[in-house]
């Protein structure tokens, strides 16, 4: 046994090398798979659906209301929780049962990487962690190099269309958008604010960004919004300026970097062309005129990217 300090600031005693791990958040389950320690994962939640193999693990109930009996019956030597998604009550209950818990916290993309590294150290695979996070960091740096000179796009991130739920300014999603050279226009302190059309019309986003299982689903969501009375008041709706990203972006897991790259490619296609087009020197203007040519030209590529991603349960994606 050894003592570690988790991201709740609690000192917890955990085994030297945890062998029976229960994950109580989809993002943690994904991280364990990314680190290659899935064989030691003995249980996860109903919402842990990525990768597909995670669905075969023993289910212990929901994120907010896991079944303590099921967890205890698995005899875990470590239960992983997130500070944002799980309840403090759950952690306290596991404490009284003598089951060690370790809490993580990821308020921005950088913390997603540091949390991944901390988990790798905790589970005795520090090299896997450093190669994974090193790779992710390199991809983020490359992206930054490409987008540095381009002014950010003002975008509305849409988690859910009915009711319309966006993201607050302090969420890791807003941070992920920054890294994709977009600004989330919603200035709310709540994590998942509900928005009205009136507010959105006032803010006039240049782009709507949909989180969806695949591109067709995102397109359907856009069409449904565009058909609603009044929505054509938005320039972005009239000019069909929308992007679709994988729902991975609303889980603080390593997959978020792919979602950031995907979003950047859709918002700033010019930055990703090998040779800049002769008629767009220097800084290209992001909002293209009606018709939205760049979108359709890269649609096939984006569809290929997105179809790899399974449909996921949006409501409880965290």
């Amino acid at each position: 046994m050894r003592e570690v300090v988790d991201e709740f600031g609690r000192t917890v005693r955990i085994p030297q090398l945890p062998q029976r791990i229960v994950s109580l958040a989809p993002s943690l389950t994904e991280t364990l798979y990314a680190l290659g320690v899935q064989d030691r994962l003995v249980g996860d939640t109903d919402y842990c659906d990525y990768p597909a193999d995670a669905q075969k693990k023993k289910k212990v109930g929901g994120v907010i209301n896991p079944n303590l009996e099921e967890i205890a019956a698995l005899h875990p030597d470590l239960v992983l929780v997130t500070k944002e998604g799980n309840r403090a009550d759950t952690v306290r209950a596991l404490d009284t049962l003598g089951i060690p818990t370790y809490a993580t916290q990821a308020r921005n993309v950088n913390e997603v990487l540091t949390t991944t590294q901390k988990l790798a150290n905790l589970l005795g695979v520090p090299e896997a962690g450093s190669s994974l996070t090193g790779d992710l960091q390199a991809r983020l740096d490359a992206l930054h190099g490409k987008l540095d000179v381009i002014p950010p796009t003002r975008a509305l991130f849409i988690v859910w269309t009915e009711p319309l739920i966006s993201v607050g300014k302090d969420t890791f999603v807003a941070d992920a958008m920054r890294l994709a050279d977009a600004t989330s226009i919603v200035d709310a302190k709540q994590d998942w604010p509900q928005m009205s059309l009136e507010e959105i019309a006032k803010l006039q986003p240049e782009y709507l960004v949909f989180a969806a299982g695949h591109f067709e689903e995102g397109t359907r969501n856009f069409e449904a919004l565009a058909d609603r009375p009044g929505w054509r008041i938005l320039d972005a709706v009239r000019q069909r300026r929308f992007a679709v990203v994988s729902e991975a972006v609303i889980r603080p897991s390593p997959r978020i970097v792919s979602a950031i790259e995907d979003l950047a490619r859709q918002l700033h296609p010019a930055a990703f062309q090998e040779t800049p087009a002769p008629n767009s020197p220097g800084a290209p203007a992001p909002p293209t005129p009606p018709g939205a040519k760049p979108l359709t030209s890269t649609r096939a590529a984006r569809m290929a990217l997105n179809t790899q991603i399974e449909i996921q349960e949006l409501a409880c994606a965290r």
């Binding site: 109903d46 289910k59 212990v60 109930g61 929901g62 907010i64 209301n65 079944n67 303590l68 009996e69 099921e70 205890a72 019956a73 500070k83 944002e84 799980n86 309840r87 403090a88 009550d89 759950t90 306290r92 209950a93 009284t96 049962l97 302190k189 709540q190 994590d191 998942w192 509900q194």
Partner: protein, 346 residues
């Protein structure tokens, strides 16, 4: 009906205790993880006879550390709500009164949420933090019953229909305030509150709160029991009871405060669980009559039995997912409430 003697009282309570015991044994066996009753009994006997000092580790933790505390919580909460309901019904002379219908549970919930918000803004020691929620719930419950009482009075007397309407309006107002707080406050403070609001016994409570709950129940239910003869006379009406020598204002204060304590503690531990306080006293009154010396203990035991059954269903029907127990009690309770309401109006 034959007069109530101590022997008869004890015998009837004995029968209810036996039923409660049987329900607890069944509830201990049922759950997400299969436990053999025979194996458990043998193990328990072994521990009692000091042949071994632990239960089989396979389900010892599940039965003793998870299921049993939850069942105990269900017993105390069910008994508290039911006694509170029986007292409100007596005092307000309205068989449809109960902490949930009168808005007292919502008041307690709002008090508990406000306490949680205050707790989030101050750095309290864990002991103090554990007590602030039940205190907030009690204050919320007491203020709400006072407000509903004022709303329900017409020309110096409690008017049943005005009172029920007052309770319904108060509930919807308090729910709106709760909604407002939950949508405007940063979500971290109130994580899981929506789940708790629907009535939830799945979260193990800290030992200190469990002890507080048991002590509070014994004190408050005891205080109400001392007024049971007065409550019997109050059935004839406040003025009539006054003529018969009942100190009505004193009884009123004792019962309101004690019932607020019961409701506040139950809500702090388990959220808003409806209809237990309404239906159980009713059923007990049908079986045992309306003598409060018998009705109050019967309501306590009956409430415990009802809530343990409801929670066992909540644990098992959609296993491994837990349903909120409040959903179970409302599903059974609301139709019965309508039935009783219509029968009364007929």
């Amino acid at each position: 009906m034959r007069p109530l003697t101590l022997a008869r009282l004890l015998m009837r309570c004995g029968i209810l205790v036996a039923i409660l015991f049987a329900v607890v044994v069944i509830a201990l066996k049922l759950g997400a993880v299969q436990v053999s009753l025979y194996g458990l009994g043998k193990d328990l006997l072994g521990v009692l006879l000091r042949r071994s000092n632990t239960l089989s580790s396979d389900y010892g933790m599940i039965v003793l550390d998870i299921r049993l505390p939850r069942i105990l919580l269900g017993i105390v909460v069910g008994a508290s709500l039911s006694v509170a309901g029986a007292s409100f019904q007596a005092l307000l002379r309205n068989p449809l009164a109960d902490p949930y219908v009168l808005g007292v549970s919502s008041g307690a919930a709002l008090g508990a949420i406000v306490a949680l918000v205050i707790e989030g803004h101050m750095n309290l020691t864990p002991e103090l933090a554990g007590v602030i929620t039940p205190v907030g719930a009690f204050i919320g419950a007491a203020l709400t019953i006072a407000a509903v009482y004022v709303l329900g009075r017409r020309e110096g007397q409690i008017d049943s229909n005005t009172l029920l309407l007052g309770g319904i309006i108060t509930t919807s107002f308090l729910s709106a305030v709760i909604m407002f707080l939950m949508t405007t406050l940063p979500s971290n403070n109130l994580r899981g509150t929506a789940f708790w609001l629907m009535g939830d016994l799945s979260t193990p409570q800290p030992r200190s709160l469990l002890y507080l709950l048991i002590l509070g129940f014994l004190a408050a239910a005891g205080a109400i029991y001392t007024t049971s003869s007065d409550l019997n006379l109050l059935l004839a009406g406040e003025k009539e009871a006054m003529h018969l020598g009942v100190d009505v204002p004193r009884v009123r204060i004792v019962v309101y405060l004690a019932a607020s304590i019961l409701t506040g503690l139950a809500v702090a531990a388990s959220g808003v669980i409806g209809y237990v306080g309404l239906l159980v006293p009713h059923v007990m009154r049908l079986i045992f009559g309306s003598d409060h010396r018998m009705l109050l203990p019967a309501a306590a035991l009956g409430g415990a039995i009802a809530l343990v059954i409801a929670d066992t269903l909540a644990r098992t029907v959609a296993s491994p997912t837990d349903l909120p127990v409040g959903a179970m009690t409302a599903m059974a309770g609301a139709p019965l409430f309508i039935y009783l309401l219509r029968r009364r109006l007929a």
